[in-house]
């Protein structure tokens, strides 16, 4: 890439708004928040063809949004090809110090970390699980090396962000192993995080869910008890990422799960209702309450619970799992269910984001 002449006054605040970070970033971000991924593809293609991207980092950020959009639209091969066009993430082309006229004394990689993440997760979607796992584990090593390097140079803010990325990749790995039912690996990875003082009540709860999944009820109860203790010992200045409402709902949902697995659906419903009272947008509570009603032989009310949530809080309730559940209920409740499913499908087409997988209605 050539070095265009610098246009930014180095004395102004370069980080005041999104548009300071990259050309029309606020607009890209807004489209992404709305789930308008097709519009993002258009915008990126427009910016590229009109040569609006002045700097190397602009190209990379636009490429990131493009790759992400392709991924969201389930065009995984296209996304993979675009990533491959970069050839080597670690190339000097993508380093700040290669362009001192633009970035002055800044050094290091200008590759947005998302690209590395998407690069690791894409193979799973392309049916190449082993490649995906290899990339994730290599990425983990890469991150840990970065943490060491930044630590040596006392770059505290960088260390913080790379540690966050380490936790992120570990969570991705746990998810992939969980999807493949490799439960013992998941338990080991979570144990590792907890043993290194990463005490996140949500993670401990998820450990409990996995223990429930495999049938280790005693272990699960132990984990949930631990989460309750964490709630009770919580201090006001707790830097945990959870708000009071979120924490309490987490504890209720954990209790509900124990009741549900023990077939005490009435008590499970009661716990979920407490969650919904505190936060009507707690979609896990809504969805799971509906399922409990079904197991209580109340198919009509289970349908109503799901339909109500779609009406009242569509942007949180509209997820593929909830819709699959609702359609299963329709199929059971109505001999001629195609009409009601079509009504639902039409409504979804009007309000859903571009990345919503409409095949979930099985219409």
């Amino acid at each position: 890439m050539d070095e265009p002449s610098p246009t930014v006054d180095p004395l102004t605040n370069q980080f005041g708004s999104l548009n300071d970070l990259s050309h029309e970033l606020a607009s890209l971000q807004d489209l992404a928040m709305r789930g308008s991924w097709r519009s993002i593809l258009d915008k990126v293609s427009g910016a590229r063809s009109l040569d609006l991207l002045a700097k190397p980092h602009d190209h990379l950020i636009y490429l990131s949004y493009n790759v992400l959009a392709l991924t969201k639209l389930r065009r995984f091969s296209d996304a993979s090809n675009e990533l491959d066009s970069l050839h080597d993430f670690n190339s000097h082309h993508y380093k700040y110090e290669t362009y001192p006229k633009l970035y002055h004394t800044r050094s290091g990689s200008m590759v947005p970390f998302s690209l590395r993440f998407i690069n690791a997760q894409l193979p799973f979607k392309l049916g190449n699980r082993q490649e995906g796992l290899d990339r994730f584990y290599l990425l983990l090593n890469f991150i840990r090396q970065k943490i060491k390097d930044k630590g040596i140079h006392s770059l505290q803010e960088s260390v913080k962000i790379w540690r966050k990325r380490e936790v992120f990749v570990l969570h991705c790995l746990i998810g992939q192993h969980l999807g493949a039912k490799e439960f013992n690996v998941c338990l080991d990875l979570i144990r590792d995080l907890i043993n290194h003082d990463y005490l996140d009540p949500v993670l401990v709860s998820k450990l409990g869910y996995i223990q429930m999944q495999i049938g280790d009820f005693e272990g699960a109860k132990g984990s949930f008890h631990r989460v309750e203790t964490m709630l009770n010992e919580r201090k006001n200045d707790d830097s945990s990422a959870l708000s009071e409402v979120e924490f309490r709902n987490l504890v209720n949902r954990n209790k509900a799960l124990v009741f549900l697995v023990g077939k005490d659906y009435v008590s499970a419903v009661r716990e979920y209702e407490e969650c919904m009272e505190r936060d009507p947008a707690d979609v896990v509570a809504v969805n799971n309450k509906a399922l409990c009603l079904m197991y209580l032989r109340d198919l009509s009310d289970s349908i109503k619970v799901l339909e109500n949530s779609l009406e009242r809080v569509p942007t949180v309730a509209l997820n593929e799992t909830l819709v699959v559940n609702l359609c299963s209920m329709y199929e059971l409740a109505y001999v001629n269910h195609s009409e009601i499913k079509r009504t639902l499908s039409n409504w979804i087409a009007r309000v859903s984001p571009d990345d919503f997988d409409a095949s979930c209605t099985r219409v």
């Binding site: 999104l18 950020i61 990689s109 998407i118 043993n195 409740a333």
Partner: protein, 440 residues
């Protein structure tokens, strides 16, 4: 799949298998703004390190605002563990799935009135038919459902512990008065097949007074099995202890303590797990207990859990030990010299015991030829047959056999056989014994 009779019906049965729901797991493509808006090393720049965090956190707060009606929750990470794609959302069973012996079959049954008229006096029955029997699950004959309005439903849930293999049919029938007052009969059939979830292979070995039972459990199902309990129930007069290998990971989890008990999970589709039991007869001097014929050791009780603790239980048939034959004569080697030299004779100390209540003998002791008729490397030195006098009832006699080894290294003393010359009976030879032959 269901099959119904001909003719139009106002009612129709809808059936859904109601095993436990499952957790939805799907790692998403959700990001942290710091990983998208800027280069990964930008925080090395002190200017960025100071000014970026406020900008980034304001972006996140925007996405978490519940009044924000966007789909940001599908794009940005709200909480670090969102990356796992495991929120706790449960999914209804999406297919009938496989049913295995020992599980509980549970089903939601809905009878719909899809006509435009009310239907009255409905007698509903649900039963399971197998090759061997019919099991009634539901019968509203005593109190028929008064009516189901047009477009209405009557729902019920049935459960049945599966105790037979092979073809099963869930038969749902409704006897009702339709709008014309005609009494109609609607049968619907839902077929499924029950398979064997596991197989158990056993091996029994006896070492002196102790019997060891090795049980290998193989999982034939499509899910992982959490082995809740695998217990051996010994037969009368036997006691059993389970033997476990040392744990691979010592208890090092000071902070996690009680959370981690390594679960026994048998992988789906062919995974195995072995169990070892040590069995002892209740009374050690149990000569009276050694009854001729087969030897019942006991049976295994197996309980397992699959998805979200869905339980299953099975019992094996009686497991047999090695048949005990009553020994009349017992020949044993008491002592072999520790140093055996090539071509130099050595004495082996033996004992012959008479376990019967009558005098037996006289006996002859020889080294029998092995089936290959190879020349033996260890032979009797001197007369090839040693004669022993009679042994009284419950008595024993000690004697020495002089042997000589003709080859160096590890050799076998094989085929020491005793025969009763009066009863013309030859007993089984002693098992081979290894010796080490050294040069002078």
């Amino acid at each position: 799949m269901s099959t119904t009779q001909q003719g139009t019906h106002s009612l129709a049965f809808r059936v859904m298998r109601l095993c436990k729901p499952s957790f939805h797991v799907e790692p998403p493509f959700r990001l942290d703004p710091a990983d998208l808006f800027v280069g990964e090393d930008i925080f090395d720049d002190p200017l960025a390190a100071a000014n970026l965090p406020p900008l980034l956190s304001s972006q996140l707060t925007k996405s978490m605002d519940s009044s924000d009606l966007t789909y940001g929750n599908r794009f940005l990470l709200h909480h670090p563990s969102d990356a796992m794609g495991f929120s706790g959302l449960l999914l209804l069973p999406q297919s009938f799935g496989a049913i295995y012996l020992g599980e509980t079959f549970c089903s939601y049954i809905s009878i719909n009135n899809n006509s435009n008229f009310e239907v009255r006096d409905i007698i509903i029955k649900a039963e399971i038919q197998t090759e061997r029997q019919r099991i009634l699950l539901l019968d509203t004959s005593k109190s028929p459902v008064e009516s189901v309005r047009a477009g209405g439903r009557y729902d019920f849930i049935v459960e049945h512990d599966v105790k037979e293999l092979g073809a099963h049919t869930l038969v749902c029938t409704a006897l009702y008065n339709d709008n014309d007052g005609e009494r109609k009969y609607l049968p619907q059939f839902f077929k499924f097949v029950v398979a064997n979830p596991l197989s158990v292979r056993t091996k029994v070995r006896t070492v002196k007074e102790t019997t060891y039972l090795e049980a290998c459990i193989e999982n034939h199902t499509k899910s992982n099995l959490y082995m809740d309990q695998v217990e051996f129930e010994p037969a009368p007069h036997w006691s059993a202890t389970v033997l476990k290998a040392d744990e691979l990971h010592p208890a090092d989890n000071s902070s996690t303590g009680e959370i981690f008990k390594p679960p026994i999970l048998i992988r789906s589709g062919g995974g195995i797990h072995n169990y070892l039991y040590q069995l002892k007869l209740a009374s050690p001097d149990s000569a009276q207990m050694k009854v001729e014929g087969t030897n019942i050791l006991g049976k295994l009780q197996i309980t397992w859990r699959t998805n979200l603790g869905e339980p299953g239980r099975l019992q094996t048939q009686q497991i047999l030990g090695t048949p005990i034959s009553r020994k009349e004569i017992e020949l044993q080697i008491l002592e072999i010299p520790s140093l055996i030299n090539l071509d130099k004779s050595f004495l082996v100390h033996l004992n012959l015991t008479n376990h019967t209540d009558r005098e037996l003998g006289p006996f002859e002791v020889q080294l029998s030829q092995n089936s290959a008729h190879e020349e033996k490397k260890v032979m009797i030195n001197g007369l090839q047959t040693m004669v022993l006098p009679q042994v009284e009832a419950f008595g024993s006699t000690d004697f020495h056999l002089s042997l000589i080894a003709t080859k160096l290294g590890v050799q076998r003393i094989s085929g020491i056989t005793v025969s009763d010359t009066t009863e013309k009976k030859t007993y089984d030879p002693l098992p081979d014994v290894e010796i080490f032959v050294e040069s002078d």
